[in-house]
């Protein structure tokens, strides 16, 4: 089967921030080479690890993110390293990097310095605050970016601190936006024959996730706060059930689906005092926003949800066309009959003789399907092959090794 991006070559110098970006292109067929620093890619030392063995060859996260890529382990600061990297630029279409603005310039390797030599390159920088602006050199990680981008403020318990999500989702957001931007620049390259420089700000990618909080502030002057697990309005919130929690999103017009059907359901279940929910007042948006309404509703709902498991509620709610979802954990997902039927989980890489299992295709293309063709590389696995392709002979390779330019 053909691959949509098999004609493209990408160099990834981005470490964590752009790892998912190059994965997206790799799994569509692009030839992706990780430029790993001599001490190895940062994510090799990040968990979870296979069988919880803290061994850089056993990071499940690294294997998930870097299957289908090659590894060239080298020192880009040495003169010979710079020359080698430039040879790589010459044969690449796309470069992604996440260095602090100014660093590459100090090495003579910035886009600005090289664009005339490599005018075809699409160069994508993914940095915390972008290439220009007063915060461009600020130190940051996922936690501080989720904070500065505004997502953390919207999450957490009202009686505790705001909460930055688990899972480095700021880096995933940035990687997705970067991949889209690269494809847009590529379309422009077809038209103009010229590459481009892309400046992705992770803070701004996080800010896309603030939903309508900025528009509420702009249009109504209100600052949206975190609600925790409390109800946004009756029928929209997290409720306890027999074996965990369930999220209902049973609103009406303009948010959620199924309020009227939820009220019917509660009455069919003969929840005491649920008849009052049939009164016209309970279809009035203004009333439903009031604390009083939420306080009347919650105990009725809790009595109901606690009778059932999250899966029972989910199945029956979906049958009734009420928007709701169980608060699943990983085992629930692994056991999901739906995801099994679709064979979503499967091998994504290999560690020694063991298959690494993980999430599969995020989309299914009929002619050029997503797929993984080879496991994540060992550190520097492709050093020799790549150097040979560039025209280096065995002597050159040994010399570069001795000089500490490659491993």
């Amino acid at each position: 089967l053909p691959r949509a991006l098999e004609h493209l070559k990408l160099l990834d110098l981005s470490q964590s921030m752009g790892a998912y970006c190059s994965k997206l292109l790799a799994n569509m067929g692009a030839d992706v080479t990780l430029i790993e620093p001599l001490q190895g890619h940062r994510q090799r030392s990040e968990g979870p690890f296979l069988h919880n063995q803290r061994d850089p060859s056993k990071s499940l996260k690294f294997h998930y993110l870097h299957a289908d890529k090659k590894s060239l382990c080298m020192d880009i600061e040495k003169t010979e390293g710079k020359l080698l990297l430039k040879k790589m630029f010459d044969r690449s279409d796309i470069v992604i990097e996440s260095f602090t603005p100014g660093y590459l310039q100090s090495l003579g390797l910035s886009y600005e310095q090289l664009q005339e030599e490599y005018p075809h390159l699409i160069w994508c920088s993914i940095t915390p605050f972008g290439q220009f602006g007063p915060y461009r050199e600020y130190k940051a990680d996922d936690l501080t970016l989720m904070s500065m981008g505004g997502m953390a403020y919207l999450a957490g318990y009202p009686d505790d601190s705001p909460l930055a999500s688990f899972g480095e989702i700021s880096y995933y957001s940035a990687s997705l936006c970067a991949a889209v931007a690269i494809m847009i620049a590529l379309q422009n390259r077809h038209k103009t024959n010229a590459g481009d420089f892309i400046d992705v700000s992770i803070q701004e990618c996080v800010a896309l996730g603030t939903e309508t909080a900025p528009q509420f502030y702009d249009l109504q002057g209100s600052v949206r706060k975190r609600l925790g697990y409390a109800q946004r309005e009756p029928g929209m919130g997290i409720y306890p059930c027999k074996d965990g929690y369930i999220l209902f999103y049973a609103g009406e017009i303009g948010g959620g689906t199924g309020w009227v059907r939820l009220v019917e359901w509660l009455n069919e279940e003969e929840i005491p005092d649920a008849e009052q929910l049939l009164l016209p007042q309970w279809r009035d948006k203004e009333w439903k926003k009031k604390e009083e309404a939420k306080e009347i509703f919650y105990p009725l709902m809790e009595q109901f949800t606690k009778r059932y498991t999250k899966d029972e509620l989910f199945m029956e709610g979906q049958r009734r066309k009420v928007a709701l979802g169980p608060i699943n954990h990983a085992k629930d997902l692994a056991d999901s009959v739906h995801l099994k039927d679709r064979q979503f989980f499967g091998p994504v890489s290999q560690i020694e003789q063991e298959e690494v299992l993980g999430p599969g295709a995020p989309y299914r293309l009929s002619i050029t399907p997503w797929r993984i063709e080879k496991p994540a590389p060992a550190q520097g696995e492709d050093n020799v092959r790549i150097l040979q392709q560039l025209g280096f002979d065995d002597q050159d390779v040994s010399r570069l090794k001795e000089m500490g330019v490659i491993t």
Partner: protein, 403 residues
């Protein structure tokens, strides 16, 4: 100033609605594609009535809808009338992409499933992005970004031990993961079509696309049989790592220390940490984490979040204000200088605020051209697109085919 529109010449017949789908086609509209939203006045996009609203009656007053539909066109058709289906097919003949985010079979009922569409447009790129995909026992299930958050384990993983989980508090999958994946998939298909002339069918399950960017709990379970639980702000190697209360009402600053050098710098910034016998090794800092957080909080609470960040950044420590909407829109100097926020004049809402694109190019402008369309604003263009006479157009209006 460049006026490059990289996606100019591409036309999308766009049936997507609500959160994720609309944001997907927005990428295309913003970079020059002609995106024609097919809407209905009897069953309008829910977001047209979603808060924040400028008024309280019409379908043209939602800040939620506006923010996701810049640079698009809107026509309103009664899809139950076969003449509407014929109109859509005519549009598709001159288009490249057909997109929808309905539950499965909606398009098929209208005779606009992939196979039918292919008959009028052989090389079409056809995107469908229902919540759970088009196959499998739960394919007809309905949901929103928040219910996807629940389904994929993102709510479970966010909270404090012993308390109900809270998640991200938003419909996060609608904002980046699903539109990002969908746009990338369509752009990849375009790239393939550029080379081969071939179109294709793309199915995106919003649940699966969202799990792809939240893999760690699944990797731990599928390979190690381990169920991860929410632990608040806990990092396997960084400490201190958290969000600390500052002076003022609900003001906070995040900070994160990932190595010895940063710890030394933190000790320079916060004198009470210096030479403290409980904190002088990373093991002790972990064992005495609660006390460590208390000492830091005592220092942060005396200062504004702005001052805390300035001081810590001055010492080279990753730190950042927990910014609220007001900070983002009217205080953040970086976002201001980068002109992230954009304001557009909308025929009913007036000048309002839009999230900008989170990336900039040297050669491609990112300033939006037009505010979101009014419902049916571009109906008259059907005359041009379909070469309709005035009488034919009027008849379609009179018959409520065009609404």
């Amino acid at each position: 100033v460049s006026t490059a529109k990289p996606l100019e010449g591409i036309r999308i017949v766009d049936f997507t609605w609500v959160g994720a789908g609309s944001f997907t086609t927005k990428f295309f509209a913003d970079f020059g594609a002609e995106v024609i939203k097919i809407e209905s006045t009897t069953r309008p996009d829910q977001l047209r009535r979603a808060e924040p609203l400028v008024g309280d009656k019409g379908l043209n007053e939602s800040g939620y809808f506006a923010n996701r539909n810049t640079n698009k066109k809107s026509i309103t058709l009664n899809m139950k009338d076969p003449r509407s289906v014929a109109i859509v097919k005519e549009l598709i003949k001159d288009s490249d992409i057909v997109a929808n985010s309905f539950t499965p079979n909606t398009m098929e009922k209208w005779g606009l499933g992939y196979e039918e569409v292919k008959k009028v447009k052989d090389d079409v790129i056809y995107l469908c992005m229902p919540m759970q995909g088009t196959t499998g026992p739960h394919k007809d299930f309905l949901g929103y970004g928040l219910t996807i958050n629940a389904l994929i384990g993102m709510i479970h993983m966010n909270g404090l031990p012993g308390r109900p989980p809270v998640g991200t508090g938003t419909n996060y999958p609608d904002h980046v993961p699903n539109p990002g994946h969908a746009a990338f998939a369509v752009l990849s298909a375009i790239e393939y079509k550029n080379r081969t002339g071939e179109g294709q069918y793309i199915e995106l399950s919003q649940v699966e696309s969202s799990i792809s960017i939240f893999p760690e709990p699944l990797l731990a379970y599928l390979n190690n049989n381990e169920i991860m639980e929410a632990k608040g702000h806990q990092h396997p190697t960084k400490i201190p790592y958290g969000i600390y209360r500052c002076q003022g009402e609900d003001r906070w600053c995040a900070l994160s220390v990932g190595n010895d050098q940063e710890w030394e710098s933190l000790c320079q910034a916060i004198p009470a940490l210096r030479n403290h016998p409980h904190f002088d090794t990373i093991e002790k800092r972990r064992a005495n984490e609660k006390q460590l957080d208390e000492v830091i909080s005592k220092w942060t609470i005396e200062q504004t979040a702005e001052d805390v960040m300035a001081c810590l950044q001055g010492h080279g420590i990753p730190s950042g204000i927990v910014q609220d909407a007001e900070d983002l829109v009217s205080k953040d100097k970086n976002l201001q200088q980068r002109q992230f926020w954009q304001r557009l004049d909308h025929a009913v809402m007036g000048e309002t605020l839009y999230h900008g694109t989170p990336f900039k190019f040297n050669k491609i402008p990112t300033a939006y051209r037009q505010a979101a369309p009014l419902i049916g604003q571009h109906n008259e263009e059907l005359k041009k697109w379909l070469h309709l006479s005035e009488e034919d157009y009027q008849k379609l209006l009179d018959d409520r085919v065009i609404q």
